[in-house]
């Protein structure tokens, strides 16, 4: 059986390229649009981008560390 | 007790007296010492004596248990009924004054009937108790 077109490696590579392109566009768009934040930090260039990437990394890694402590086999309560 | 002639004769002689005395205590109760309760006990004692001497079987023939239990009820009904009659006549429960035109007579009549009710019930209860206990033994 042939793989669904969406999961073929070729498509996936294309998707990565498109995605990185879109990411670049969203950041570059900020050159044309002036952002008026309430605080200084949110007026930095590409705030959403670096803040989103950074906090997500923190959350995932934090969850990973916490998980090491609180994860149990899923039959724990049975 | 079939062979004990003397108790049988004496019982036969005294039982009418006991019953008569019971009636005296009953009806004289509102003038002298006595009343329904005592009379009932004495009346019942007469029957119990009969039962002791002549046996439970004979007592049951003379005083069938069903009728005796019914008399318990009849006595209570008489007692309560007098009260209800006085209510029907417009007075409070057990207020005898209204039972006759003259207050005094009303009191007399009322007490007589109520005591009769008490007497009947007590006598019947005594007999029932005796028959129940005597019957248990067999």
């Amino acid at each position: 059986m042939e793989k669904h077109w969406l999961v073929r490696p070729k498509t996936i590579r294309l998707l990565w390229i498109v995605m990185l392109g879109v990411l670049a566009v969203t950041v570059l768009l900020q050159l044309g649009i002036e952002i008026h934040g309430e605080f200084h930090i949110d007026e930095t260039f590409g705030f959403g981008a670096w803040y989103g990437l950074g906090t997500c990394a923190v959350m995932v890694i934090g969850a990973k560390i916490l998980g090491a402590v609180i994860k149990r086999k899923d039959t724990y309560y049975d | 007790m079939k062979h004990h002639l003397i108790p049988r004769v004496i019982a036969k002689l005294t039982i009418p007296g006991i019953l008569l005395f019971a009636l005296y205590v009953q009806f004289h109760g509102d003038y002298g010492p006595g009343g329904g309760f005592q009379a009932g006990v004495i009346f019942g004692a007469g029957f119990i004596l009969y039962g002791l001497v002549f046996g439970l079987e004979n007592l049951r023939k003379v005083a069938p248990p069903q009728i005796v239990t019914a008399f318990i009820a009849v006595g209570v009904l008489l007692y309560g009924g007098v009260g209800v009659v006085s209510q029907i006549l417009g007075a409070n429960y057990l207020d005898y004054d209204v039972l006759s035109a003259v207050d005094h007579d009303g009191q007399h009549l009322g007490i007589l009937l109520v005591e009769l009710g008490v007497g009947i019930t007590v006598a019947a209860v005594m007999m029932t108790i005796f028959m129940t206990f005597a019957g248990r033994l067999r």
Partner: protein, 491 residues
């Protein structure tokens, strides 16, 4: 005619009892009992409507005026109790016809109904009379007949249950009598209203203190306050279904009425709560009773017994309200007397239905009943919710007022206990529901279905009442409040 109702209220059941013995054929005794009870209910309702505006009816028996003669004295509380007792008997008697036919041999039916009416007479008499000694007479009438009624249960253990009850009941009644004798010795009167006037100057008298101790312990035994409740579980478990329903709804409740009457009217709130440590004693026993009996109920394996222990706990709630010694607490107690009577009446009728169909009320015999006896179990669930105190049921109203009363005193730990123990109630009700709805009947179980309408209708009438009195509270709460104010006002 209506003026004679106070006497007729007691006399008609009293005369009905012998009538049952004379007319003992077939269904006649049942019919007599039913008609008598309905008549009593009608009279109680009339009396309640007469005292609704705070008036007090006094009726002198035999025309002898108080304090010489025996007085029947009816205020809101009396009338409310009369309505409760007559109402419950009127609701359970229709149920009795089929249930008694199944549980008691045919040749004893007339005795059963006669005894039932005597029990009714005694309870009505206790609730109506204004004479302390007369109370004792009615206690004996009701107790003796209830011993006999309990002994009629199918199970042989009913005999020993009745005997235990007899011994303990007699101890209670005797204590009561000793107390009445003591106050008679110092006051020379037995009329309650008269006593209320003569006792205050004697408050420091040791005789009066001793009298109070004897009377209250005697009554506490009759009302089955923990730890004096030991007669109750067996008596309720082994008595015939109808008797259990009737006794559970009324007997202990009338005893509680006596406690209120003697506490507030005869001795007076001032004496009971300021001179004697009644509040502390009652509070301690009530809390212990509520907690321990609820726990015990959780672990019962017979549902009738489970409900009996729950009754002990519920009596604890009622006494708790009394121990607050404020109007709200008293209202809570009185309204819970009523609401619990309705609720437990319904639950024990459900037990009657189960016993009729399945023969036993053991927990395991409830397996699969949710599907096999849907209407019966639905009634159990609704009445059970009322027992827990879920909103829109009668039990909620009582719980609310109990907590409100505790808050007024600033006793919020007590409020927390009340609510926490309703979680325990949820657990023991849940145990039954779980087995009925979530466990399938064993494969070899005989087919079962809902009992005939003659049983279902009375059950659902009381179940409906659990909901009705949870929504329309003017009857229960209105009268309870009025009675509480009358009591506190020294009425």
């Amino acid at each position: 005619m209506i003026a004679q109702f106070p006497a007729l209220q007691v006399v008609i059941p009293l005369l009905g009892a012998p009538l049952c013995i004379i007319l003992r054929r077939g269904a006649l005794p049942w019919l007599i009992a039913l008609l008598v009870s309905w008549a009593a209910l009608a009279m109680a309702a009339t009396l309640l409507s007469q005292v609704a505006d705070g008036e007090i009816i006094s009726y002198a028996l035999g025309g002898w005026l108080a304090p010489l003669g025996i007085e029947y004295r009816i205020d809101t509380l009396n009338a409310f109790m009369l309505l409760l007792v007559a109402g419950t008997s009127s609701a359970v008697l229709p149920f009795a016809y089929k249930s008694v036919a199944k549980e008691i041999p045919q040749d004893r039916h007339y005795l059963f109904y006669s005894g039932f009416l005597l029990m009714l007479t005694g309870l009505l008499g206790m609730a109506i009379t204004g004479d302390a000694f007369n109370v004792f007479v009615f206690i004996e009438i009701s107790s003796l007949s209830s011993y006999a009624m309990i002994a009629m249960g199918r199970d042989r253990r009913a005999l020993s249950a009745a005997f235990t009850y007899l011994v303990m009941g007699t101890v209670g009644a005797t204590f009561f009598l000793i107390g009445v004798g003591l106050i008679y010795a110092v006051t020379g009167t037995l009329n309650m209203a008269d006593l209320a006037e003569r006792l205050p100057p004697l408050y420091q008298s040791r005789t009066v203190l001793a009298a109070f101790a004897f009377i209250s312990v005697g009554i506490l035994l009759k009302l089955a306050l923990f730890p004096l409740h030991l007669w109750l579980p067996n008596a309720y478990t082994y008595a015939p279904s109808v008797v259990t329903a009737f006794l559970a709804a009324t007997a202990t409740k009338v005893a509680i009425y006596l406690l209120l009457r003697f506490g507030y009217t005869v001795f007076g709130a001032e004496f009971v709560f300021n001179i004697v440590p009644a509040s502390e004693v009652l509070l301690t026993l009530a809390l212990a009773g509520v907690i321990i009996a609820s726990f015990v109920a959780i672990f019962q394996s017979d549902v009738k017994r489970l409900l009996a222990y729950s009754s002990v706990a519920q009596i604890g709630y009622i006494i708790l309200g009394i121990s607050y010694a404020n109007v709200t607490g008293l209202t809570a107690s009185i309204v819970h007397i009523f609401n619990h009577a309705v609720t437990k009446g319904a639950l024990f009728l459900v037990m009657g239905c189960v016993a009729y169909a399945a023969g036993a009320c053991r927990l395991e015999s409830f397996a699969g009943l949710g599907k096999r006896m849907p209407l019966t179990m639905a009634a159990f669930v609704i009445a059970g919710l009322s027992l827990i105190g879920v909103p829109l049921t009668a039990g909620f109203i009582s719980k609310w007022y109990l907590v409100l009363g505790a808050m007024e005193k600033g006793w919020w730990p007590v409020a927390a206990v009340i609510l926490a123990t309703s979680l325990l109630a949820a657990v023991y009700v849940w145990r039954v529901v779980e087995i009925a709805y979530f466990r399938d009947a064993p494969a070899d179980a005989p087919p079962l279905s809902d009992p005939p309408l003659a049983l279902l209708v009375p059950t659902w009438v009381l179940t409906g009442a659990c909901v009705y009195f949870g929504i329309e509270t003017s009857l229960s709460l209105g009268f309870a409040e009025q009675a509480a104010i009358q009591l506190m006002g020294g009425g």
